[in-house]
């Protein structure tokens, strides 16, 4: 175990930034989101939940995929992908919480499945992930339901933060390499403090109101029964059909592909899309989901039933609680789990 005094963290960031791009929770206009670090930015590692999740780093909200140059009838396709590893341009994603780290695993199963999404892969391969253990979980957190240990997240490097130090432990080769880069700033020690923090946090996690949600009902064999449940109507009644839950969600991965005409040609880009939007499934000759209830149902069925049945039971929810905090009308996945999940939820 290594450690660095809290007041020297800026030196650590600067050192990493010398040779790598650093993405870290930064406060801007009152809100904390992951952003590129530079001297003078207000880093906020203490923030439990960034508004947007770090998925933005691998799967940006908008991303140019290719360009088309058109001359007369001829079309030329220009590949704008970048292989960052080959270019020697590497990144560090710093301060990822256990839930968000698990979410990256969920995204990997989509984007790194054949055929591999190279846009995602290029960023993913070039990035070293430094996770940060939680010490002050709040009432909307329920990562334990998904067997995530918020006190000891995985990642290339795991860190813990208390009032005096940031404790540092490399887990992988990438992590060792990063440790070697900043080793002059790190000193030995911290095992006892980290253990104490883990114990204290676990006590809080035990007390969290959602820590014991029962997911037993969400099994592939119950797919049609859950789909037909009459409760969807009532649960989705207040849904505005906005995309807040999907855009703050660390595992939502639906996207749209669109073209933009420039003075020179066409840019084809992809951007996040939301199954909550009315035009998500709209085709020229009809729409397979015409009501907000159907769209609401799709989102939660996908997270709790469809995705797990495609991925060996892995849920596409990590219990980060962002939707619990951010839904304008206070609808969220917890209410769905409680209503449909299983008998132990009462």
């Amino acid at each position: 175990m290594l450690k660095i005094a809290k007041e020297r963290l800026n030196e650590l960031y600067a050192k990493i930034n010398e040779s790598m791009g650093l993405f870290i929770p930064v406060k801007k206009a009152g809100e904390v989101n992951y952003a590129v670090w530079s001297e003078g930015k207000e880093v906020s590692l203490e923030t439990l939940k960034t508004v947007k999740s770090p998925k933005n780093m691998f799967f940006p909200q908008t991303e140019n995929m290719m360009k088309f140059k058109q001359e007369g009838k001829n079309i030329e396709v220009v590949d704008v992908r970048r292989d960052y590893v080959e270019e020697g341009k590497l990144f560090v994603l710093f301060g990822v919480k256990a839930c968000d780290y698990k979410a990256i695993e969920v995204l990997d199963k989509v984007f790194l499945a054949e055929p591999i999404d190279t846009y995602y892969q290029n960023r993913r391969n070039a990035t070293t992930i430094v996770t940060l253990a939680c010490s002050r979980p709040e009432e909307s957190c329920f990562c334990r339901v998904f067997d995530i240990d918020a006190t000891a997240p995985q990642g290339d490097v795991t860190t813990w933060l208390d009032n005096e130090y940031l404790y540092w432990q490399a887990n992988t080769e990438k992590g060792e390499a990063l440790t070697a880069l900043v080793k002059d700033l790190l000193e030995e020690g911290g095992e006892k403090e980290v253990e104490a923090q883990k114990e204290a946090t676990k006590v809080i996690i035990d007390k969290l109101p959602f820590s014991n949600l029962d997911l037993s009902k969400f099994q592939p064999e119950n797919l049609n029964e859950l789909f037909e449940a009459k409760e969807w109507e009532e649960m989705s009644e207040a849904c505005l059909g906005c995309g807040t839950c999907t855009f703050v969600c660390p595992t939502c991965q639906c996207f749209d592909i669109r073209d933009f005409k420039t003075h020179e040609g066409v840019i084809r880009y992809r951007c996040w899309d939301s199954c909550m939007y009315s035009d998500f499934t709209l085709m020229a000759h009809g729409n397979s989901r015409t009501t907000q209830m159907q769209r609401f149902r799709q989102r939660f069925m996908h997270k709790l039933v469809y995705y797990p049945s495609q991925n060996d039971g892995l849920y596409s929810c990590v219990g980060c609680g962002r939707c619990v905090n951010k839904c304008p009308q206070n609808l969220n996945i917890v209410k769905v789990i409680k209503t449909l999940g299983g008998k132990d939820n009462d």
Partner: protein
């Protein structure tokens, strides 16, 4: 607040039982004390099991009436003072048939913003109690007292609204009269230089994730198909690919609701990035007040809005900058 809730519950149950209304739109208990959700209740049992009215019922229920009031039978709705303006405006725009709705005006002594409370450092909230100007928050980490004006929804901070429409009212506590200037923040921005204003909005709007929550919650945004969802408009987009689109979306949206926006403040309440969107709409309101005479959308349920009428002596756009709008 509990006494008000009980009275509301009693009235709603009576209305349902007598068959006067087929459903009641109100708020339903959430998982915590601070997350009630809008809901409709069709029976006394449903009301007893879930109805709630507390310090966190900030959601404006009037927009739900567009759908609900089309259903069979009369719909009763609880409207806070600010919500009644939206209701009137929707009636004016023929989105709601007034005759199908039974309006119960309920008191509101400002609603709390749990995000503002959390920003003050409280987390793991288990209970909230309000005594006068003290908000006593019980958390798993201890008890803290917050100053109420610091943690009310931004729309409530400058509210002087009164019920504009009601079939009956439930008001047990009178709200103290107060003098506030709701344009204070707008004036602050106006007093800045162009560069400062640009920097301010650039920073705020760069947070926008284009979730459309502001649009979808807005009672004035009642178009069946929004221009931003219409591929034929040439500006349909799902995300802000360029900073221009951040500006475009908010400028167009603010313009589309100008003269119709009642300043209900829902846009700012729902924004996941806490962009002060109400400051966009308030600029229009302030300009309209200054240039064309004071106008409050939603005070009446008929008549014209400032942008659908004119006078021959209106200010010239080029002169607006010569201080006439400020």
């Amino acid at each position: 607040m509990k006494d008000v809730e009980l009275k509301m519950l009693e009235r709603a149950k009576a209305l349902l039982q007598s068959g006067e209304v087929a459903r009641v739109i109100g708020w339903k208990k959430g998982e915590f004390c601070y997350d009630p959700a809008p809901a409709s209740f069709e029976s006394v049992e449903e009301m007893e099991n879930g109805f709630v009215y507390n310090w966190f019922c900030g959601a404006n229920l009037s927009k739900y009436l567009i759908q609900m009031a089309k259903k069979e039978g009369k719909t009763a709705v609880f409207l806070k003072p600010c919500d009644t303006y939206s209701f009137n405006q929707l009636v004016k725009e023929h989105r709601i048939n007034r005759e199908n709705v039974y309006v119960i005006a309920v008191e509101c002594l400002a609603k709390l913003d749990v995000e503002k409370m959390k920003a003050k450092g409280v987390s793991f909230i288990t209970d909230v109690e309000v005594v006068d100007k003290d908000v006593k928050v019980t958390t798993a980490y201890g008890v803290e007292t917050l100053y109420k004006p610091d943690v009310v929804l931004s729309k409530c901070a400058v509210c002087t609204k009164t019920h504009q429409v009601k079939d009956e009212e439930i008001i047990l506590h009178e709200r103290p009269e107060r003098e506030v200037n709701r344009f204070e923040e707008v004036e602050k921005l106006e007093a800045m230089t162009e560069d400062e204003r640009f920097a301010f909005w650039r920073e705020q709007l760069s947070k926008c994730i284009r979730c459309n929550a502001c649009r979808n919650v807005c009672p004035a945004c009642s178009c069946v198909k929004c221009v931003f969802d219409n591929p034929a408009s040439g500006i349909a987009a799902k995300a802000n690919d360029d900073k221009f689109e951040e500006q475009l979306f908010h400028i167009i949206r603010a313009f589309h609701v100008s003269g119709r926006c009642t300043d209900c403040g829902e846009c700012s309440r729902v924004c996941p990035q806490n962009i002060p969107l109400h400051l966009l709409n308030r600029k229009f309101i302030k300009d309209i007040d200054t240039l064309y005479g004071e106008y409050q959308a939603g005070e009446e349920s008929e008549g014209k809005t400032p942008l659908t009428t004119y006078t021959e002596g209106d200010t010239e756009p080029n002169d607006v900058f010569n201080g006439e709008a400020k």
